[in-house]
Amino acid sequence: MIGTDNNHNDNDDIGDETGLLNSDDVWQEDISNPDALTLNIDGWEGPLDVLLVLARNQKVDLRQISILELVRQYLKFIDDARSLKLELAADYLVMAAWLTYLKSGLLLPKDPEIDPSPEELALRLQLRLERLNAMREAGARLMARDRIGRDIFMRGTPEGLRIEKSRKYHCNYFELIQAYGQVSARTLPVIHMVKKRAVMTLEDALSRVSKMIGYNIGWSNIEVFLPTIIDSDDDDYNVMLRRSALASTFMASLELARNGVLELEQKDSFEPLMIRAVTSNNENQVS
């Protein structure tokens, strides 16, 4: 006869074996979990736990336990719990139903259609009990070992070890200069500037020639009216500017000639182009 109370005692026996399995030792969070509390009131951890304790009660090797007897004891445990109005979680009842099924399968004549067979199921149950039992015993053996801080001690006041790493940094000259070049290139604002073009505008030429013509009484080469090129030491730039100045000055001269301010003369193709102001003296000599 195994009643709920007896089971409880058996459970305490296990606790005494290891000195560590008493209900006092339950984790804080287990107690704070109301559902776990339902189970832990009796010290059980689920139906397999109950089955394992019942199986060990048969006082034989787990491999030789009587599954039918085990089922009978479990169902009795459930009945007892119910009659004591102990609240049982669903998984206990599911296990009871499953064991009832297993029991009937084991008792009824063999039906080869059923897969897996009741015998196989029974074997698997027995294996699971063995596995859990093995871990339970392993845990107890672990806890019973000479443990650091309880039985074995490390040095009480070690001086401690320190490696003070003094870091030496490595960076060579090239990396330094390269980094600066890249910072500069990266961070410069992107600005597009139109390059100053080498030109002399017609307006500039008109005003320049108008001003200068008054001082030149005789014939002068048009080149005299060109600005002196000193803007840049870039030769290409100078050549370009000189061409532009010559073209503009020529245009300006034609314009001024049309207005009767000056007159132009060229003896032959590619000969120097001569300019002079129109005065009252030479008014009639327009060529």
Binding site: E45, D49, A89, A90, D91, E137, G160, L161
Partner: protein, 200 residues
């Protein structure tokens, strides 16, 4: 002799177990640390202090047989619940294991904080994920575990050889899984009305 002294002093001063290569950092390359450790191990044999190796780390500790003189009750060591002890044992013997695998062996759910507490005690650590659907984290025991329980390596776990030989550490049989999954499903359906414990 100077070599021995240097290795001895370094280990003695250290606050935690050291690997051979850690010691080299202190005593210098020119010393054969491994040879020195062997000599020291022999030297301390049978004394009140022992030089021991746990995993790949070495430390000095008091001799086990003197525990009766020195034993102290420590609250910290007593407060492990049966659930925690079993969980720790499963991780030690079956590791690397996932939470689901632990639960399947124990046939109950692990309370939320349990693995955290064991990790905080530095006895277990997570060791990557298992490449199965859901990619669960798997857990293994640590060097600190070996140190605490006085084990040179996982192979020294009490009885592990027998458990292996009898197949009790083998991966859970698929048919058994299925059987359990069915039972579990049934539980889950019931649990809406009955109990939240079964909720995953």
């Amino acid at each position: 002799m100077e070599h021995l002294r240097a290795v001895e002093a370094t280990l003695f001063a250290s606050e935690e177990p050291l690997r051979s290569k850690d010691i080299t950092q202190y005593v210098g390359d020119e010393i054969d640390v491994d040879a020195a450790l062997k000599t020291l191990e022999d030297h301390y044999q049978g004394r009140g202090i022992e030089l021991v190796r746990r995993g790949d780390r070495w430390h000095f500790q008091t001799a086990a047989d003197l525990a009766y003189l020195l034993r102290r009750e420590s609250d910290e060591l007593r407060k492990l619940s049966r659930a925690a002890i079993e969980t720790l044992a499963i991780i030690a013997y079956h590791g690397p294991v996932s939470r689901a695998e632990i639960e399947s062996i124990r046939a109950v759910q692990i309370s939320k904080g349990m693995l955290d507490v064991l990790m905080q005690a530095e006895w277990i650590k997570s060791a990557g994920r298992r490449e199965v659907p859901g990619r669960p984290l798997v857990y293994v025991i640590t060097n600190e575990f070996l140190t605490h329980f006085g084990l040179s390596s996982r192979k020294d776990l009490p009885g592990i050889r027998d458990l292996k030989a009898t197949g009790l550490l083998d991966p859970i049989d698929m048919v058994m899984d299925e059987m359990f999954a069915e039972a579990n499903d049934a539980e889950e359906n019931d649990s809406e009305s009955e109990s939240a414990v079964d909720d995953v």
